[in-house]
């Protein structure tokens, strides 16, 4: 095996968390930092001509090549898992910047009770009303502990929005149900599309509290504390699944790489696929990776940081035999437990008589209400334990992807002249109102381990995910559909639009599926907690048994929150970096 010169820190994965960690280490210490990124060395200039729906929207050109590695999925312990053969439910990016290049840019904080959810659920509903299979855990930190880091990430990315709770004072126009902020947003909120304006008015008339989503797509030209200047969003409509051609969407390549490139202690090695963490006697010694020529390479390092895409952090630990794999039958072991996704759906569609110009939009541009988020507004008899955020996005109109959205009854078949006429007529006339994103609670039976059959291009076992929706998620979706139905009816009254259907039912929402896109927001597997029995990493994302190993990213979330994971992932990374730099380096060992 080829052996490289030792470095102080090796980071597996060059996405948001890996590069944010590299930025902290290279700015504040003299340590040599090497980032190994599996994909190509993406650059800002690569995005100048990527506004092509076929290559990027449909063939998913920015994602990992699924031919080389995928995940397998089964619904229950009794089933045989099948590989996800073509992209569907989740879309892991590759290349420098990772999924942070093609993300949509929603930049929300968790709410305070997300951090002590297990306690909050017991207090709110009583232990007797909670399903036996629930395995929700508290974070080992409070919202207040993370608030300063949230503020740092918001400045780094230039997040736009309007505070609803400024130091405990409720401010009109923002989200009154959010946790207290120490500062107003660095940038103003997004402009409003037609569906956003309809949703805002209708929900206000119903007594709710609409606000514009926090977004990392710049609403104005902005210079961040690192001195990086980026231009304002132009609402071109090529955001999610695309890299930003003007640099308005905050991506690691336009936000972190310009700073890192100036550091002599920073090295980035692209096309380097990390396979194992090498360790002995509770100490990590480096990593083994495959280089661009397919040659196996040993990279010794004093500190190892795993910052790959969420499920792959768990997979690397399993392949490296670090920690005890979770057993869903006995509840023993912590590695791989508490896989969670997001419970989406419940939107209601409206047909409008006027054009929506739905092709004009930005990622993260959305009008929302949190009146049913967390425990807000949940009736005691609904059986719903946690709600979510109701969301009317910009437009998301795609020539190919949106063609064929027609009201039921317009055409007997989904092809032919009758269908085509309806598809043309309604192409830019359908607005999806209020789509919910709800907390996906953690359950004992939703977890990750290594697949016994299928392997990646090197012959290593794939990660197997066992997950299905429970009765609770059906109740959440039904409740969401009821709420958005009301808002859509109200919007129809004032705008002359017609309510044409809801996302209430369907087979797809009853059983977990991997064929159609859901969201890339998957969490868990290497979760943070209070003890080595209930978690894989401590509050500072340091491995319980291997103190010079850090596992960062949404793999550390004990469960999903209705708010998107990126901002929290990066905030937790900055907090971990503080602990690493200020405490671990001074006294290497387990941080108490």
């Amino acid at each position: 095996m080829k052996q490289m010169k030792p470095v102080d820190v090796v980071i597996a994965g060059g996405g948001w968390t890996g590069l944010a960690m590299a930025r902290e280490l290279t700015a504040r210490t003299a340590l040599s930092v090497l980032v190994l990124e599996r994909g190509p060395d993406r650059k800002f200039a690569d995005y100048a001509a990527n506004m092509d729906e076929v290559d990027y929207g449909i063939r998913k050109r920015m994602m990992q090549n699924i031919a080389e590695e995928t995940i397998t999925h089964r619904h229950t312990l009794r089933d045989t898992a099948a590989p996800v053969r073509q992209y569907g439910g989740i879309l892991p990016g590759t290349g420098v910047g990772g999924s942070g290049e093609h993300w949509t840019g929603y930049a929300e904080r968790h709410t305070p009770d997300d951090f002590h959810l297990a306690t909050a659920l017991r207090e709110k509903w009583g232990a007797a009303r909670l399903p036996d299979a629930l395995s929700v855990q508290d974070y080992p930190l409070r919202y207040e502990d993370l608030e300063p880091y949230y503020w740092r990430v918001e400045q780094l990315m230039g997040v736009g929005g309007k505070a609803g709770n400024l130091k405990g004072k409720i401010v009109d126009g923002g989200n009154p149900f959010e946790g207290p902020r120490s500062h107003e947003f660095p940038n103003p909120p997004h402009r409003k599309t037609y569906p956003m304006a309809l949703f805002e008015q209708a929900s206000r008339e119903l007594g709710y509290h609409p606000y514009t989503a926090a977004a990392a797509t710049l609403t104005e030209t902005y210079t961040n504390p690192d001195g990086i200047t980026r231009g304002a969003c132009q609402y071109c409509g090529y955001c999610m699944l695309y890299g930003c051609m003007v640099g308005a969407k905050s991506q690691p390549t336009n936000t972190l790489m310009p700073v890192l490139k100036r550091k002599s202690t920073f090295t980035l090695r692209a096309n380097s696929w990390v396979k194992r963490v090498i360790h002995r006697d509770g100490k990590a010694e480096g990593v083994v990776y495959m280089d661009e020529n397919g040659e196996e390479v040993l990279q010794p390092a004093a500190i190892v940081v795993l910052a790959s895409f969420t499920p792959n952090n768990t997979r690397l630990l399993l392949l490296s035999k670090i920690g005890t794999a979770y057993d869903p039958l006995t509840g023993k072991g912590s590695l791989g437990k508490n896989f969670s996704h997001t419970v989406g759906g419940g939107g209601t569609s409206l047909a409008l008589s006027k054009p929506l110009n739905g092709f004009m939009f930005a990622g993260g541009q959305s009008m929302r209400i949190s009146d049913f988020n967390g425990f807000q507004g949940i009736p005691a008899d609904s059986g719903v334990l946690r709600g979510g955020i109701s969301n009317t996005a910009g437009g998301n109109l795609r020539p190919i992807g949106s063609f064929g959205r027609i009201p039921a009854g317009e055409s007997a078949r989904n092809w032919g002249s009758e269908w085509k006429k309806a598809a043309v007529k309604y192409f830019d006339k359908i607005a999806m109102i209020g789509v919910f994103e709800m907390d996906h609670l953690a359950y004992k039976h939703n977890y990750m381990d290594l697949d016994p059959t299928y392997t990646d291009k090197w012959g290593d076992p794939l990660l197997r995910i066992t997950v299905d929706w429970t009765e609770h998620e059906q109740k959440q979706r039904a409740f969401a559909a009821e709420v958005t139905g009301k808002i859509a009816q109200q919007a129809a009254k004032t705008s002359g639009a017609r309510v044409i259907g809801s996302e209430r039912g369907g087979r797809a929402s009853r059983r977990y599926q991997t064929a159609e896109y859901a969201t890339t927001h998957v969490q868990g597997g290497a979760i943070m907690g209070t003890t080595s029995e209930n978690s894989v990493v401590n509050s500072w994302l340091q491995h319980w048994h291997v103190p010079n190993l850090w596992v960062i990213g949404a793999s550390s979330f004990p469960q999903n929150s209705s708010s998107h994971p990126t901002l929290t992932s990066v905030a937790l990374t900055l907090r971990a970096a503080d602990a690493l730099i200020e405490r671990y380096l001074k006294k290497p060992g387990a941080l108490a």
């Binding site: 092509d52 290559d55 087979r507």
Partner: protein, 220 residues
């Protein structure tokens, strides 16, 4: 080495400019004279004519505007199948191949190229010559197959893709649905609610100012 196959079409049947009558009916003008001889990269000429006829039934020319033939949908499909997508270069193709639940999507071993080869045979040697109603009957027989779903999806893609992929000739599909192409921005327009935005569409190459190649043309 395969024999070179061409698809020869009357040029006035492809592309063109859409104008709307006072009654709102689209009329195609400005189509070219002469004929187009299109080199095929995957299909034989007979296969291309069968796929062309089938995609025309999925998106037929009618009073709502032009159809799949005028947009050159078959050229789009031919290029996609010739490229890495057609050969499943971006699909997990390791054994064992198992039957699974519908929630796991297509689990078959056949590549898009193989599915088309077999699908065209199933439509029949004479498919392109049949009356439209007969063609519809045959398509209804295979409506539930994965091949048909793929053909339907590819027809929409070829109708509304950026012209760099060979379909949407003359941006006729975009003209029909009122999509202006990948313009760089609408910062000043985004808040003009309900106001129609009508522009002659621009392709990615026109916006970028240089030719842009599709993924299907890059060496695998």
């Amino acid at each position: 080495m395969r024999r070179r196959e061409f698809l020869t079409l009357p040029a006035k049947g492809v592309g063109g400019l859409l104008i709307y009558t006072l009654a709102g009916e689209p009329v195609r003008v400005n189509a070219q004279e002469g004929s187009l001889k299109i080199p095929l990269k995957f299909f034989t000429e007979h296969e291309a004519r069968t796929v062309m006829a089938a995609s025309e039934r999925i998106l037929p020319a009618d009073e709502s505007g032009p159809g799949a033939t005028e947009a050159n949908v078959v050229v789009y499909i031919d290029r996609q199948l010739a490229g890495p997508y057609g050969r499943d270069k971006f699909r997990y193709t390791k054994a064992p191949w198992i039957e699974s639940v519908p929630e796991h999507g297509y689990q078959g071993k056949e590549t898009p190229r193989e599915l088309y080869r077999a699908g065209v045979v199933r439509l029949g040697q004479d498919f392109a010559q049949l009356a439209a109603s007969e063609q519809d009957k045959r398509l209804m027989e295979i409506e539930k197959t994965y091949f048909f779903q793929m053909l339907r999806t590819h027809t929409i893609e070829g109708f509304l893709c950026d012209p760099l992929h060979g379909g949407n000739a003359g941006m006729i599909g975009w003209q029909m649905i009122g999509f202006p192409g990948p313009l760089m921005g609408y910062r000043e327009e985004v808040e003009k609610h309900g106001v129609p935005f009508q522009r002659k569409p621009k392709s990615l190459s026109q916006v970028y100012g240089r030719p842009v190649k599709g993924w299907e043309e890059e060496p695998a």
